[in-house]
């Protein structure tokens, strides 16, 4: 897993961000460390169904995509 997928990853731009725990600058696509925890993303939600690469549906009626952050989504259900 990469930093980009981690709960403690804080974007600053599309390339990189900051680790919320360590406050160090990290690249989004570099391998995560041992403190890794899954970020709340659509791909981890039971409402999400994959249709094709990078596209799927939410609750079988809305378009959705797997990498979308869902920490503000009231319908999020951990898979």
């Amino acid at each position: 897993m990469n930093h980009f997928d981690c709960k403690y990853y804080l974007n600053t731009d599309v390339f990189k961000g900051i680790c919320k725990r360590d406050k160090i600058v990290i690249n989004a696509d570099d391998a995560a460390c041992s403190n890794f925890e899954n970020a709340q993303k659509c791909k981890h939600c039971s409402n999400y169904s994959s249709v094709q690469t990078d596209l799927g549906t939410c609750m079988n009626k809305y378009d959705a995509y797997p990498e979308m952050l869902a920490i503000t989504c009231n319908d999020y259900k951990q898979r």
Binding site: N11, T12, D13, V14, I18, D54, E67, M68, T72
Partner: protein
Amino acid sequence: MKDIKELECASEIYNYYGAKPEGEILNREIKKEATPRAEKERQMYFDTKSSASVEFPYWYTRRWEELEGEVQIIRRAEALKSGFEHLTPSVLPGELLAMRKANYLRGSYPMPWMSEGFFLLKEDDLFKEVQNAAKASADEVTTMGQGGGNVTKSIGNIISIAGKFGLRKEEMPILIRVAKKWFNKSVDDIGHKYEQFVPGYDTKEEIMRAVICMFDSGYTLPQGREVINYYYPLQFGIEGIKDICKEKQAKCAGVPGMDRLYFYKAVHTMLEGLQTWILNYAKEAKFMASLECVAEQKDEYLEMAERLEWLSKNKPRTFHDALQMLWIFHVAVLNEDPISGLSPGRIGQVLYPYWKHDIEKGILTKEKTIELLECMRMKFTELDCFASMGVVGGVLSGNTFNNLCVGGLNKEGDSAANELESLIIESAMSCNVPQPTLSMLYDEKLPEEFLMKGVECTKIGTGYPAWVNNRVAMEFLLNTFGKEGMAPEEARAWAIGGCLETSPGSWMPLEVNGKTYFIPGGSAPATSVGVHFISLPKVLEAVLYDGMDKRTGRRVYPAHSLKLESYNDLWKIFKHYFSITVEVLTLTNNIQHDIWGKISPSIINSMLKPDCLEVGKDISNKGCRYNRTFNVEICGGVNLVNSLASIKKNIFDDKNFTLNELKAAIDANFGYLSALETGSYSLIEQVKTANFMDWLKIHKLCLDAPKYGNDDKYVDDLFKEWQIWFSKMCENYISLYGEPLYSCLISVSTHAPMGAVTLATPDGRLCGTTFADGSVSAYPGSDKNGPYALFNSATCYDHSLSQNSQLNMKIHPSVVSGREGSRKFLEMIKAYLRKGAFHAQFNVVDSRMLKDAQKNPENYRGLMVRVAGFTQYWVELGKQIQDEVIARTEYEQLG
């Protein structure tokens, strides 16, 4: 005239306008340090790329689709609410002010409900339809800055959009999916359909293809170039405004004029979305605190969370609260539309009651004030506006034009300058980042020390404050808005919206700790919507070539079929073609903005603007107090006038050559390669062709013709005639809001792409090179008689006839060094403004430094320059503009 052989040998013919900067670089005089907190934020900013996300448009579109059939403004409010509620909060260590546009530091996002064609895949049939509609012409001739935060190329998992924004590749499929949902439903698509009912629509399409006009304001930046008004959130808090809405709803439900009911419901709904957005940030701040080991940082997160929770419902208690509230609503407005030029206005006067109270109570110090103001500057600097390359590069140069004004007069007519404004200037010196730019509303009543503070800031090379004449602005406002009831007292509440758009304001009664203060704020919709921007040299080119665009070989205007045997013939046709342009663009732009108001009305900005909340009407329904805000903007005015002078003198007065000979020389680009071939966009460095000698005589005569900026009556009279005619003719056209248009004289960055598509001009300028900037700036290198001669030329007409005039000057740092240099500098500025000038701004910089920065951009990440109404990082400017700034005349004395 010199002998031809002598000319051939003279190397200065290459550098006829301006000289290549050589020798040792002299640095700017003063360097102040930002507070450690702001400096850390600035370094992070320098390391950050412009980044786009799909989160907001995804949720906006999802909710929009769910509500098909709902009243349109309610549907819009619900969609906005959903967008705000789902934005992922992002709180960075060290921040004192929370909230940003998207979850990246320089975050922004596409708004496909406005225009979606730009995001469709190039191979897609839908994309081809967009291309055929001539919507992308300006994009093709724009150069983007290659450094700084621009993502100029796709790399790895990142896709570059518009040469500026990075988008993660996993978000591209959903962006395209969302964009397609707006096909034939966006403001752009629906507006385009109805525009075609306008007589002469085909001419409009050709005007756009030829880049005689730069862009459609209704589809690109429908709001902005205006001053925000923070009164309602400060006075009532969010719950207070919701209560107002509920009361008003009860009064207008079932009563004729029902649109008011829907407007109040929309505002109420949207505010609920903002409350969730704010609380999501509070929650994130608490989460960050839970991970924090350093006590001081932990406390800051918790204080931030407490402040946000309070402000999600209530009005501010302190200066820090009030500053945070301003920022929340500033970002909220920016998130409802693509917007450039949403100016905070006179916030030193708006925030003064809070600041004074906190200082007197001992809960705030001047040092802490500076730190907060620096953090505010970083927040404004982070702002990006997501738009196409033609708009974001060709017009905006990546800037967002948040203009903060200081000085001016208060409601009673006394100096409005205060101690907090001095600290604002101080923070703009110590944290010298591009945003917000500053404007000094110059009035004779302002204290001398305050003006000196402004000069000290200008001369360190920030490019700000710009110096703007309060009395000239008031005269323009009273002339323009008098019919809508503006009195002199209210005219004093004005400020600059965007880079240099004089914008009407009003005084609103803010109660703070039991006292009432009348604070200024914007009271009108976007200015600089309407006809944007018309390239005057390109219209003249069409006159010379019988209505054709030589670059594309397409007919733009009806053939005049005249031989143009007199200057008056030529001038008459020019006015005819220009009038055709303004007429068709006024009508099509009216449709664009009408559709915008119907599909995508402003709710947040409307709520803020007096008197929308009072009367229950949004901006597009004339809810604002002042509504005569549509204008006609032009570009390349000085090149037009210099060209007219050259034609008049060389062809009709002195008969040095014929019009056909001139056209042949223009076709041959006076014997030079075009700028598009050389990649050099000023006259300093151009390359001769083998047949250079064939055109040398004519070129030299064109270059030697009278030039604006030298106090030369021959050309200045032409300039005056143009300005007066232009200002009057605008009033013949009526805006969507039923008011006459007015003239606006700024170029922003359009003088680069518009120059790029224009052949050589009769003033000797070469094909593809950039026009003169602004409106009363001399063409680079052509002002040879010193600053006071330039001032005389610039003030040869009444500046209050138009919304603005714009003068850029470049001054060598050695000229203004020391306290004595500052005094001389201020006296020079005063002398210009006392002549009735509206505006002047300055680059205090050694041109050699700019040249070095062009060669070695990695050494100049923080170098800022003034372009045309805005300050921008050098490395984020396109080469067209860089070359033009280098070529500008560098004044080495002020007398």
